[in-house]
């Protein structure tokens, strides 16, 4: 009986070997060309992020000693995070931020998809319509804020008030940018909405922000819609599917990946929304990003400001995780 030669399993390459192979093999040029971008990312994102994280774990102050400025960071561990979580104003800021995010996202999904669906139809002047729709996105955020500041001016001469007064829709001007409670005549509802972060100024700002950002959402969704083959719709029509069913069972599942990207992108943006709110309200509408700025740059507490920033990042990350998880589940 002859014994069969047993092939020994290939030896697992060591980490050094694998790195060497990766760098010297067919990917050499790939890594070489990526290197500048990687170095820039490390320099402008990774290192500042680690530095900010270090600050969030310290009692950070600015000191100038012998004519040289520097940042003094005294290690306090998780103290900044714990202080924030015990502070009622942090929770109010969190609720206001989440309200801003939820309402904005709902508007973007519904109106954004609606706009995209409209732009996906063929009609006379479609190209011009698409260009016009895209204009608000091109306006700088600060200019947009000033524009809405004039529209929402609470005097008679404010653009919106003037219009509503001329149409006799209101008796006296409304102070759109005052964070006053909604429905004051129904106390329980008013209190509940205030608790959730909804007030007149917040809703006005959402309108101003959506005017600028809706076009980019619509354009991205439109790009997704245009990749869907027409045959799908033709087959559905032959089968007698209604327009709503075609949308629900063809359009929506096929634009889901684009929608997920849009949702992740917009969640990140909405969680750190700052310019419009600060320009119009300064510290009067303290969403998390305003609170982070105020802690760091007004109060000089860079540690606390960094801690708020990291919490914003963490919340955005958790939300993005659920989006992505849902997307993969649907694809499977």
């Amino acid at each position: 009986m002859t014994s069969m030669p047993v092939e020994s399993p290939p030896k697992r390459a060591t980490l050094r070997q694998r790195v060497f192979r990766a760098l010297s093999g067919e990917y050499f040029w790939l890594y070489l060309l990526l290197l500048p971008s990687i170095l820039i990312l490390i320099a402008v994102i990774l290192i500042p992020m680690l530095f900010a994280f270090q600050m969030s774990l310290g009692n950070t102050s600015i000191v100038v000693v012998a004519g040289r400025g520097s940042i003094n960071n005294q290690w306090v561990g998780l103290q900044n995070y714990l202080s924030l979580l015990q502070n009622p104003s942090f929770w109010q800021a969190l609720r206001e931020t989440l309200y801003f995010w939820v309402v904005s996202i709902l508007i973007e999904i519904t109106v954004g998809i609606g706009m995209a669906a409209l732009m996906n139809q063929s009609f006379f002047g479609r190209r011009i319509f698409r260009v016009i729709v895209f204009i608000p996105w091109a306006i700088p955020t600060v200019v947009n804020a000033m524009l809405w500041g004039m529209i929402f001016d609470g005097n008679n001469f404010g653009a919106l008030n003037d219009l509503l007064l001329q149409w006799h829709l209101i008796q006296s001007p409304i102070v759109w940018l005052n964070p006053s409670a909604l429905f004051p005549q129904i106390p329980w509802l008013s209190n509940a909405l205030s608790y959730l972060g909804s007030n007149l100024a917040m809703n006005s700002i959402i309108v101003g922000d959506e005017w600028k950002t809706l076009p980019i959402v619509a354009i991205l969704v439109l790009a997704g819609m245009q990749t869907i083959p027409h045959e799908f719709y033709e087959a559905a029509r032959v089968e007698g599917a209604s327009a709503w069913r075609q949308f629900r069972q063809i359009t929506l599942p096929l634009i889901a990946p684009v929608l997920t990207v849009v949702l992740i992108l917009r969640t990140m943006q909405l969680m750190r929304a700052f310019t419009l709110i600060f320009t119009l309200e300064q510290f009067g509408l303290p969403v998390l990003s305003i609170q982070a700025y105020q802690q760091a740059f007004a109060f000089g507490s860079f540690g606390m400001g960094s801690a708020v920033s990291f919490l914003i990042g963490l919340i955005a990350l958790i939300i993005a995780y659920f989006y992505i998880k849902r997307l993969y589940r649907e694809e499977l």
Binding site: S61, I62, V63, V64, G67, R68, G69, S70, I71, D153, G154, N155, N156, F157, S172, P173, V175, W176, L177, N178, P179, S180, A181, A201, F278, E281, Q282, F283, G284, Y293, Q294, A296, F297, A298, F299, G300
Partner: protein, 432 residues
């Protein structure tokens, strides 16, 4: 062969180094090295961008080797820019515009240097600047900024509207003011007689302190450094502001208005009264911005009977000075002072009287000022009647608490007394 070429190459390099070295030395003798002085300033009306650029050009004429590089930022961004500049090893801005509310903070943390030495040596007549201005920019004997802007608030009213309501002059007391507002509203001359800047921002604290001043004194802290917003004039001020809002005498837009917005309401004839910084004087008589040209009057503030006897007014200070950043390189500090001395000098301030009220009494009382500003007597009266906001090292934290509770008290979200007590309690907790 190789050695020969090497020797030639080294020789050529040596010669060129010698030549460049010699020419540099010659140049250094011929002209001093150019100096770039980075100056942080506020984009605003009054001493505007163009006025500052003109001052910079004049300074450059006197000192051709010095170039002034300005950065203009809106007021809400100034403090953060100074802070981040202080965190750098070498200052991003050598000279900064410092607001009086930052004096204590900058002194405590050493962000800017005391100017006592420079002032002692170079300013011949420091008493030429009113003591109230020096007080705002000094702490514990240290002068942290050289007075540049003598900004303060004036009381403005529309004489045409008041005449329609049957009043020959503006109010002298708070009771008269209230009466005039009620009559103006009752006769439908104006829907909201008064508009102020009660947006949740620093302007609200200014108005609160000034109103407290009108009721007796603008002190929000007692001599021991304890907050006292829940008693005396500070509490009366809060009750007054709430009452004006509740009774529809103050425009509800005040709660969302900053100073320029409130000024625009006055200049467009939407309000009979406005309490604001001196820039309103220019706006109300500018045909391109105002619908009330010739109708606006600058006046002393009405005060509660029996109070403010010496001044017969009660204003709020918004003094700003020029300061040298502590991390400015030592070689630049003398130039930084030279620029400060130039920009704040009576001669330069006299050239820009149409822009701002000068800090120097000699300029403020000059025939030129009297000719340009027919309200100069009222200006002097209000300047002498200023109250300062609290001089505490953590002022911006304290201010944010005041802003929040005063705003909520005016809008009625919480009762005035509760807001005042909560404000005091929260400020006290900062020190525990």
């Amino acid at each position: 062969m190789k050695n020969k070429w090497s020797r030639i190459l080294i020789g050529a390099m040596g010669a060129s180094l010698l030549l460049t070295g010699a020419s540099s030395a010659a140049m250094a003798k011929a002209a001093p090295r150019p100096v770039v002085l980075k100056v942080l300033y506020m984009s605003q009306q009054g001493y505007s961008t163009s006025v500052l650029l003109k001052m910079g050009a004049e300074f450059h004429k006197e000192h051709p080797n010095v170039n002034i590089e300005f950065t203009f930022l809106p007021y809400p961004q100034l403090h953060s820019a100074i802070l981040t500049s202080a965190a750098a090893p070498v200052a991003q801005y050598d000279v900064v515009l410092s607001d009086l509310i930052w004096t204590a903070e900058f002194a405590a943390n050493g962000y800017t240097v005391p100017l006592n030495g420079y002032i002692h040596h170079y300013i011949k007549n420091p008493k030429g600047i009113p003591q109230s201005v020096w007080n705002g920019l000094s702490i514990k004997g240290k002068v942290m900024a050289m007075p540049f802007l003598a900004n303060f608030q004036n009381f403005y009213y529309n004489k045409k509207m008041l005449a329609e309501a049957g009043f020959k002059s503006g109010p002298k007391t708070m009771t008269q003011w209230l009466h005039q507002m009620e009559v103006l509203k009752a006769k439908h001359i104006v829907q909201y007689p008064y508009e102020d800047s009660w947006l949740q921002a620093e302007g609200l604290v200014c108005d609160y302190v000034r109103t407290a001043g009108e009721f007796g004194n603008g002190n929000l802290f007692n001599a021991k450094g304890q907050p006292i917003m829940n008693q005396g004039p500070a509490l009366k001020a809060l009750e007054w502001m709430r009452m004006l809002y509740k009774d529809g005498l103050a425009n509800p837009n005040s709660l969302a208005a900053d100073e320029p917005t409130a000024a625009n309401a006055f200049a467009s004839g939407q309000a009979a009264f406005n309490t604001n910084w001196t820039f309103v004087t220019g706006i109300m008589n500018n045909k391109s911005e105002s619908k009330i040209v010739g109708q606006g009057v600058v006046s002393a503030f009405p005060v509660a009977p029996g109070t403010n006897r010496a001044t017969q007014s009660a204003s709020i200070s918004g003094f700003q000075g020029l300061a040298i950043a502590a991390n400015t390189p030592a070689s630049l500090k003398p130039w930084a002072w030279k620029w400060i001395q130039f920009a704040t000098s009576p001669a330069v301030q006299a050239q820009h009287l149409h822009s701002e009220w000068p800090v120097w009494s000699s300029v403020a009382t000059s025939p030129q000022e009297k000719r340009l500003n027919s309200w100069y007597k009222v200006y002097q009266q209000n300047l002498n009647a200023v109250y300062n906001r609290p001089a505490v090292a953590n002022y911006l934290t304290v201010s944010s608490i005041i802003q929040q509770y005063v705003h909520e008290a005016i809008s009625g979200t919480i009762p005035v007394k509760t807001a005042a007590n909560d404000m005091v309690q929260q400020i006290e907790s900062l020190h525990n």
